[in-house]
């Protein structure tokens, strides 16, 4: 869900259109998704951001390559070469391209492995968030009445829970782990998605094509997922693309507070946290993980802005074309 895939085959409308085989699309219609992708493709900043995101994904996938190149594992401690005689981290040099940390580990390799955690949490937690939010939002908006009231109160409750306190409490009970991090983020961020979706569905419900479906005898489930869902996907995709960096930062925050993955797992938030005592003597220790985090979230944010512009017909840039 990080980005609409860069091919015109993004028929999120999918399911219902399955009856067409590709060779029969002689006169092909251009779906709203294709049109949005066309606009997005002309957005230079969004495309550069997309390139950066792809690069980060590749780094995460091929993190072991860095181990091969440098000969350093992510958790290997090089007490002789990776630490100065005083026991301090070593600055970037030909062996440790981005320097070492306080235990003599290679920061470059750890950043590469840390990208895996950030992206994994960022994507999985976002998917959970969006899935819950969309289902709750559609149900609340479509059924209205008591269902809506109950779900809206639930949303209010979730939004008013102090997130970090709950996270601390949960982690202290279960112990830090990847699952807990993902669940904590996923279970506490869906409320705003639900609100957005609910608002959209409230207006969609009154549209005539929903009445048409009902007059044909369509079931509520069919109307919700075949008729309503494709129409709320645009704002959901926009929100999703802006949610990923937030989730990545949240994960980093949790790790920074030692609520994330237990050491020695390489993790950007945790690395920054470990670097704090050394910021005066070893700039590379805090700068490089921080930069990785910054570049990643910036790329996602800029790409998300582009997606929003591409889906928003009132966007100024589109008027110029």
């Amino acid at each position: 869900m990080t980005a609409p895939q860069p091919s015109p085959t993004v028929h999120v409308v999918g399911a219902s259109d399955a009856e067409e085989s590709p060779d029969e699309r002689r006169i092909q219609g251009r779906s709203p998704w294709v049109l949005a992708w066309g606009r997005l493709r002309r957005d230079r900043i969004a495309m550069i951001s997309l390139g950066v995101i792809v690069l980060i994904v590749l780094i995460a996938i091929f993190a072991p390559v860095f181990t091969l190149l440098t000969g350093h594992g992510p958790n290997d401690q090089y007490r002789l070469t990776g630490l100065s005689p005083q026991g301090l981290p070593v600055a970037p040099n030909h062996e440790f391209w981005l320097g070492t940390d306080d235990l003599g580990r290679d920061i470059l390799v750890r950043i590469a492995y840390g990208a895996r955690i950030s992206l994994l949490v960022g994507i999985v937690a976002t998917v959970i968030t969006v899935a819950i939010g969309v289902v709750v939002g559609i149900a609340a908006g479509y059924f209205g009445g008591v269902v809506d009231t109950l779900l809206a109160r639930l949303v209010d409750v979730v939004l008013s829970v102090p997130f970090l306190l709950v996270a601390i409490a949960l982690v202290s009970i279960t112990g830090p782990s990847l699952t807990v991090v993902i669940l904590v983020i996923g279970l506490f961020s869906w409320a705003s998605v639900a609100r957005i979706v609910r608002g959209q569905v409230l207006s969609l419900r009154e549209r005539e094509f929903v009445e048409a479906a009902r007059s044909l005898g369509a079931s509520d489930t069919r109307i919700m997922f075949v008729d309503v869902l494709p129409n709320v996907l645009a704002p959901v995709i926009v929100y999703t693309s802006l949610l990923v960096p937030v989730v990545i930062l949240t994960e980093a925050t949790l790790s920074f507070l030692s609520l994330g993955l237990p050491p020695p797992t390489a993790d950007w938030g945790g690395m920054i946290s470990e670097a704090v005592p050394y910021y005066q003597t070893s700039w590379w220790f805090v700068i490089f993980p921080g930069a990785a985090l910054l570049i990643t979230t910036l790329a996602f944010n800029l790409f998300g802005d582009g997606v929003r512009d591409a889906f928003d017909p009132r966007s100024e840039r589109l008027l110029q074309q």
Partner: protein
């Protein structure tokens, strides 16, 4: 539930049961916030006691100003709304209280065409899949033959079947209305409720769609309930016309009779608003301009609902409600709800409402056009 009320129609149903019969249909919408302790909330009387029948193969026109409850009535017939009270008999069956499950087979026979050709088609779905929807919902036809069926329908309503994969945004307004028509036709319904099907279209396109509707009626033996605020359109398509005002039918007559033997002052004022094609006669014809707006339907006027705007209102019009019955020797097919119906040739512009301010106000110069 369905049998508690006496159903006088049941015994004679066998002989000449009309396809559709509405009995005292009411639909009220609560307005404002719902509070448990607030017993009597304001209610919009959108449809307030409509009874009529539609015979098989007939086209019943339904006209009235914006906000008179035409569209609400349409949605009551198609069971998009649950009735507040009353009955809707379709094909010998009271469908007004049917459960969702029992309603499903009926939905194949009652279809609806909507006013807004932009709003009635899902912008995110391909036209072919929109038209194939009825088959998918009712589980008829396999996926493969569904496609073929949809293409045949497209061809029948005058669309290029090769545009099957296009999206609604790639069609013009008239074409979209054809798509909506194809969707409505898919299940071979008996009754199609047309809710202002041509009001959003250009005049030239209107004619095409109306002719298409007429052709399809011939071909499939369709029955139409045709709603419009445009009398000239309704006159062209309808066998009979019902005139609605504030949720009630005020006059119902065969088309020609309604135009020639207009009984209700409201009908007359609607007819007088029809544009005349000849500019010379247009200048000389009688124009009845109603004063004021349609009253607030949450608190409809007492007695005859039209009396505050009626050029011919008498004081007792406010006291009690006129029944919808034949007047002045009209046949049973032409009931009018008026205590003081118009005689043929009566000049309404000379009438003076007894509710008018003491100084007789000039007629025709003030107020909004209906």
């Amino acid at each position: 539930m369905t049998t508690t009320s006496p159903a006088p129609a049941a015994p004679r149903a066998a002989q000449e049961e009309p396809l559709l019969r509405l009995t005292d249909v009411r639909k009220y919408f609560p307005v404002g916030s719902s509070r448990l302790w607030e017993r009597d909330r304001a209610v919009v009387h959108a449809v307030d006691g409509v009874s009529l029948t539609v015979a098989r193969g007939e086209t019943l026109g339904l006209v009235g100003e914006t906000g008179c409850g035409k569209s609400t009535l349409a949605r009551c017939i198609a069971r998009l709304y649950d009735l507040t009270s009353g009955e809707v008999w379709f094909d010998g069956q009271d469908i007004s209280r049917l459960s969702r499950r029992r309603m499903r087979p009926v939905r194949r026979d009652v279809q609806m065409i909507f006013q807004d050709p932009y709003g009635s088609l899902n912008p995110h779905r391909r036209v072919g899949s929109i038209i194939g929807d009825p088959f998918a919902i009712h589980g008829i036809e396999s996926r493969r033959s569904r496609r073929q069926a949809a293409q045949e329908l497209m061809e029948r309503v005058g669309l290029n079947p090769e545009h099957y994969n296009r999206f609604p945004a790639e069609f013009s307004g008239g074409q979209r209305q054809r798509i909506g028509l194809a969707r409505a036709l898919a299940l071979r319904p008996k009754l199609i409720v047309c809710d202002e099907p041509v009001s959003a279209l250009d005049v030239s396109i209107q004619a095409q769609i109306i002719n298409l509707l007429a052709d399809l009626q011939q071909e499939f033996g369709l029955t139409y309930v045709f709603i419009s605020h445009d009398l000239s359109v309704v006159r062209h398509v309808s066998d009979r016309i019902a005139v609605m005002y504030l949720g009630k039918i005020v006059e119902l007559a065969p088309t020609d009779e309604l135009f020639e033997l207009t009984r209700h002052p409201y009908t007359r004022s609607l007819l007088s608003a029809l544009p005349a094609p000849d500019p010379d006669t247009a200048d000389s014809r009688e124009r009845i301009v109603l004063a004021g707006d349609v009253p607030n339907p949450t608190r409809p006027p007492s007695g005859c609902r039209f009396h505050p705007r009626c050029p011919k209102a008498h004081l007792d019009c406010a006291a009690s409600e006129p029944p919808l019955l034949p007047v002045l020797g009209d046949g049973a097919e032409h009931p009018t709800a008026c205590f003081y119906p118009l005689e043929p040739g009566e000049d309404l512009s000379l009438a003076v409402s007894e509710f008018a301010p003491a100084a007789e106000r000039p007629r025709g110069g003030t107020g909004d056009t209906p």
